[in-house]
Symmetry: C2
């Protein structure tokens, strides 16, 4: 049977479907990896933005949750999650004040790479009567944010350790330039160099007798390299819960839990189908999402509200109104376009989970 | 002054800013074009998804609103707008029923290119006791949805004209393959060929004594070509209200009303700034959004939550916490990432408009 018949997924499209069994298997597999190791998992919320999934990760051994924005941290804290790392800088004055307020009801940690910002965080925490945990972000080769030298990291760490309202907790560096390298050898080499850099910075801090308990790194593409590196204390992998066509090539030990469901709206030619899934419901920056379980069907193009499929052989049986399953190429940005996840068990959609932090980029 | 100082825009970032004066000037300019012509404007809602703007367009002579999805039509109708064209097929059974229900309280028109779909619309309208307006969608060269021959269009039109619950109203064809052609000559040639094709289909319908009052076409890139073509009765332009870096090259007579505001979160090197605007708040499929009013600054990359700027010369004065204005390259998909528009007058943000149809892709 090529078509995904409507009765199997009686939901409106375009929609995201999460296979609960696969999701849980991915969460358990990652938990299993960290169970026997000194490093722990602090999974990244940016992938799923769904408190229900963050709680599942915590139930399976995660030591806290990582997120990218203060708005995401608010959603997590309001969902009852108390240990949250914002793996990013928070610099606008209004945001710094919000962060200090939120720190009253959660153990918040935020990254810094600028002394003025650190001083502003301290003043806000003192004004609010709260305490903010701080990690110095280190550029480990990605060339984005982060200190560029161990002395710069030490200077910030020493300042953080001395400031009122601030708890200096360690260093963070994301090896984003390494995670997508296709060859395992290349990935390992780039990741080990990044880990060594981060550990050098931590050593410079400790040499001045400043405690540096947290050394935070890693993503899904390097979880087992950074997670196995002595001295790295936690890994921030996110995409392993869902996977996508891009990560499937890198870490095949995790399975695809997230798919997009679309409906055929037009069959203008025997070799052509148009579906109701476009760039407003699935992202294309890592490539076009391709049909799953529909041999002979290939996505040719996405426009805002349409996907165009080329059909060969038996895929030409596809009719207007049929549903098609596609595999996203970037789960994190695709999820951010949706308000809910439709959760299936044994091929049947059973519940709906709210993507509470969809659009929480402020 | 290179920096956009916080007091000028005391709002949280990333955010979208709409200059109300420029928006209104764009709306008036487009209204002025159509004021003296037989063709009328039915502007596309997909660009702004904001009922407040749809009402402004109607106040300035638009004959109704075009949208892409049933979910958008629901937002429009609930906002009091009664003449709505869904320039797309609605095929899933649950959606067809919703459409027939909504048709009780609005003059809804939808496109068809499939006879089974047309029959389903008729059955749903009869069951609901409503009437659904129908236009046959014609492929005028874009290769997406739509009939591929005039006899196919005639067959569907004749069927539509005979079915209970259906009001056949005309034909629609979008020259999406023409709107972005950089050379005016190429654009005119492709657009005129598309218009001729659409008019041929309309003629085939009328030859059988089937009234075909609406011949709907056009986008922002071709509004003055299709809008000046005898026989085209309405134009569906959308992006002219906001404009973006892509359309600015094509139709320079409209001005940029929409910008994205970001905050500098890191200055890791003299030549580098990192801002809090990434792919989750601005889209990149038509190119990277570039800074405005900040000579020497260039966007190098967007990741999910970060933008990386290269700084030369005076742009190096940029500090952590400063705000930066960027020009999106695709206004329609960027707006779809946000829940609100911050509306400025004379450089000051004065009100907030709800993007009520953000994510309304179902």
């Amino acid at each position: 049977m090529l078509r995904v018949a409507a009765p199997e997924y009686p939901i409106d499209t375009p929609a995201l479907i999460v296979d609960a069994g696969i999701l849980l298997a991915n969460i358990r597999r990652m938990a299993g990896f960290f169970a026997g190791r000194p490093a722990k998992l602090r999974p990244h919320f940016k992938t799923h933005k769904t408190p229900a999934i963050a709680h599942l990760q915590l139930q399976h051994g995660a030591i806290g949750i990582t997120c990218a924005k203060l708005g995401e941290a608010e959603v997590l804290v309001h969902a009852g999650i108390r240990d949250v790392l914002i793996a990013n800088q928070v610099t606008a004055p209004a945001k710094v004040a919000r962060l200090a307020g939120l720190a009253h009801i959660a153990h918040l940690k935020v990254c810094v790479d600028d002394e003025e910002n650190l001083l502003a965080l301290s003043r806000a925490a003192v004004a609010a009567g709260s305490r903010i945990g701080v990690l110095v972000e280190v550029d480990v080769g990605m060339g984005r944010s982060g200190t560029r030298s161990a002395p710069a990291t030490l200077r910030l760490a020493a300042r953080a350790a001395s400031l009122p309202g601030i708890d200096f907790q360690g260093v963070m560096g994301y090896e984003g330039h390494a995670v997508f390298r296709a060859s395992r050898e290349d990935r390992e080499a780039a990741c080990r160099a990044a880990n060594a850099c981060l550990l050098d910075h931590a050593a410079a801090v400790r040499q001045e007798d400043i405690p540096c308990p947290l050394v935070s790194a890693g993503g899904t593409g390097t979880y087992d390299i950074s997670g196995d590196c002595p001295g790295i204390t936690e890994v921030e992998a996110g995409s392993y819960v869902f996977m996508d066509a891009t990560y499937r090539k890198i870490v095949p030990e995790f399975a695809t839990a997230l798919t997009a469901l679309a409906t055929v709206i037009s069959r203008p030619e025997p070799s052509r189908a148009v579906i109701d899934l476009g760039m407003k419901a699935v992202t294309g920056e890592f490539g076009l999402p391709q049909p799953e379980g529909l041999p002979g069907a290939t996505t040719l193009a996405l426009s805002e509200e349409h996907g165009v499929l080329e059909l060969e052989g038996p895929a030409r049986d596809l009719r207007v109104g049929d549903q098609v399953v596609l595999l996203p190429t970037h789960c994190c940005t695709t999820v951010n376009l949706h308000d809910r996840l439709h959760v299936s068990r044994g091929g049947r959609v059973q519940d709906v989970w709210t993507i509470a932090a969809r659009g929480a980029f402020c």
